[in-house]
């Protein structure tokens, strides 16, 4: 009976599409880890006041006011921190290493950003880039500072 239940449970996992990558369907790209001053997250054109531990989704715009700054941690360990008067957009984020489905595109519209790359840049550097109105930065791992005005 017990092994039957285990089999049913495992079959459920398989059928619900959670095998092999149960961890591989993250509903969020990252979290707000640290912040100070005025920080807003714009989602579907509606601004939300950012708070610590708030989830960040693909498509979110992150905006800081003149005293605002914010630090974020993404699911692949990328650490992004943003200074005052800045706006960045998480254009694409996909981290499913076991299925080799990986992408991380950050757009910096304005401001100052510190970007410490994570696992995606190690596994598949070609899919990681930072876009600005003037140029595109491709990363093969490490720490980059970007200012856009």
């Amino acid at each position: 009976m017990r092994s039957f239940l285990i089999t049913v449970f495992a079959a459920f996992l398989v059928l619900s599409g959670n095998l092999p990558g149960m961890a591989a369907a993250p509903e969020h790209a990252g979290i707000v880890k640290s912040l100070a001053g005025e920080v807003a997250i714009e989602r579907n054109n509606a601004p939300l006041k950012a708070e610590a531990n708030m989830k960040i989704l693909k498509g979110d715009h992150i905006r800081t006011g003149k005293n605002g700054k914010v630090g974020m941690i993404f699911e692949d360990d990328t650490v992004v921190s943003v200074g005052p008067n800045s706006r960045i957009v998480i254009e694409d984020f996909l981290f499913q290493p076991s299925e080799k489905r990986l992408s991380f595109i950050t757009r910096i519209v304005q401001g100052t950003v510190s970007y410490l790359s994570g696992q995606i840049a190690k596994i598949a550097p070609a899919v990681v880039r930072i876009e600005t109105p003037h140029a595109t930065v491709g990363l093969r791992g490490t720490h980059v500072l970007v200012k856009v005005d």
Binding site: P20, G21, G83, L116, T142, L145
Partner: protein, 199 residues
């Protein structure tokens, strides 16, 4: 000290003037472990590779090629990026806990628990992942169940030490994501593991 003041004023003036012109400045710096990677800055007019620490380029527009890399001083980096750097969170940490068999941690892995708890505390972490894995001995179903139980047992250990269960996400991969690729039905201690990520 006094003879450095005009220099820093000059730097700020240059930044203000530079700022008005618009553009993108990119600086490659060493990471927290002191390692420097490599970047490529490109647009429709050209492309430049940067692979040395504290080198940067300043792109004026999307139609002007990125200039060759030039050294960026510590003072400039501080003046421009101290706000962004001051709020940079500690990078996440990963721990691998190995199992003798079933749900019994190896003694070395059991000794890691205080370090994991310290990392959670240090980061005030509310985002902890616990991911269970097995080796390839046995069926897919058997191993999926075992990996679920392994992740659950590590979660329970953390919760017993005071970690909020709402801050822990457990997931399980069965034998599908081995650390060491093996044939099926191979006893591989390094694959019998739970990974803990503290963000």
């Amino acid at each position: 000290m006094s003879d450095r003041l005009p220099l820093s004023l000059l730097v700020i003036l240059m930044l203000v003037v530079g700022g008005c012109a618009g553009g993108t400045m990119v600086v490659l710096t060493p990471d927290t472990e002191g390692k420097t990677g490599a970047i490529t800055v490109s647009n429709q007019a050209g492309s430049v590779d940067i692979a040395s620490p504290n080198q940067g380029t300043e792109v004026r527009s999307s139609t002007a090629a990125p200039p060759p890399p030039a050294a960026v001083s510590r003072e400039t980096i501080t003046a421009l990026f101290s706000d962004a750097l001051s709020i940079q969170p500690k990078a996440p940490v990963h721990y691998l806990l190995y199992f003798e068999k079933d749900l019994v941690l190896t003694p070395d892995s059991a000794r890691l628990l205080p370090e994991i708890l310290a990392a959670i505390k240090e980061r005030s972490s509310t985002d902890i992942s616990v991911v269970g894995h097995t080796d390839t001995v046995g069926s897919r179903e058997y191993n999926m169940t075992l990996s679920v139980r392994r992740a659950g047992s590590v979660r329970d250990l953390l919760v017993r030490q005071g970690v909020d269960p709402d801050h822990i996400r457990t997931t399980s991969h069965g034998k599908e994501n081995p650390l060491i690729k093996t044939a099926d039905n191979v006893n591989e201690p390094r694959n019998r593991r739970v990974e803990v990520v503290v963000r």
